[in-house]
Symmetry: C2
């Protein structure tokens, strides 16, 4: 039961670390295939699970029911655009103490918390001038 390091595992981790768009398993699959064309989708899922279990990647359930992956493991928030579906990281300058759920009823053992904002991203909100539009990510 000793975990084993394989080129596929490395490739999956590389892709997730290089991504800033919180890719889905399918997106990771497509990207890994660019460098390793014979990889299978099952292997992608198995390795993503392995990385998640090792807390090397974070599993996100944002908005819809499809799973996304994030190589940024430190606690931070997300913004999900309801129009284009993009998921962006959000700066969370609030202190931990301020965010700590002191209001949760006694007896709950809180391990982590997830904050997700929904709305329109700058691009979809039309704030970004036309010239710059399309350049957004």
């Amino acid at each position: 039961m000793t975990p084993r390091r394989t080129p596929q595992l490395d490739a999956v981790y590389d892709v997730v670390r290089a991504a800033d768009d919180h890719p889905t398993a399918d997106t990771v699959y497509a990207r890994v295939r660019r460098v390793m064309p014979t990889v299978s989708l099952g292997t992608i899922y198995r390795n993503l699970q392995k990385l998640a279990a090792a807390r090397c990647v974070r599993v996100l359930h944002v908005g819809d029911r499809i799973t996304r992956y994030d190589a940024v493991v430190v606690e931070h928030d997300h913004f999900c655009c309801e129009r284009c579906g993009a998921v962006h990281d959000v700066e969370a300058p609030r202190t931990r103490t301020r965010r700590r759920p002191a209001h949760v009823h006694a007896g709950y053992a809180v391990r982590t918390q997830v904050v997700t904002f929904y709305g329109l991203c700058p691009h979809c909100a039309g704030v970004v001038p036309r010239v710059a539009a399309g350049a957004a990510r």
Copy 2:
């Protein structure tokens, strides 16, 4: 395209309103069938979507990839137990201003936000004495 009121729609809404456990579509299905045995799962999904579109129920994606429904539409937080999977409402005495994402980069139009805490519920954390354990769903 005029929405139509049907006994099935009423039954679905009644079930969600009467529930305090953030039921899944399947759970709603089971409960509606108790009073309307011929209802179909497809109808449950269609009516849940209709209610969600009308903002009569809130759609929740908490933890896993299955969809839950909540008749409490006002903004509030949730706690998800990582052991038994239960979802509880959480008191959110924080003021709106305090929770407002002033730190979100300019240009984002935030419509709503979702805060979910993960950990162990009082029951699974062992606060509840052994005699009661095992009754947890």
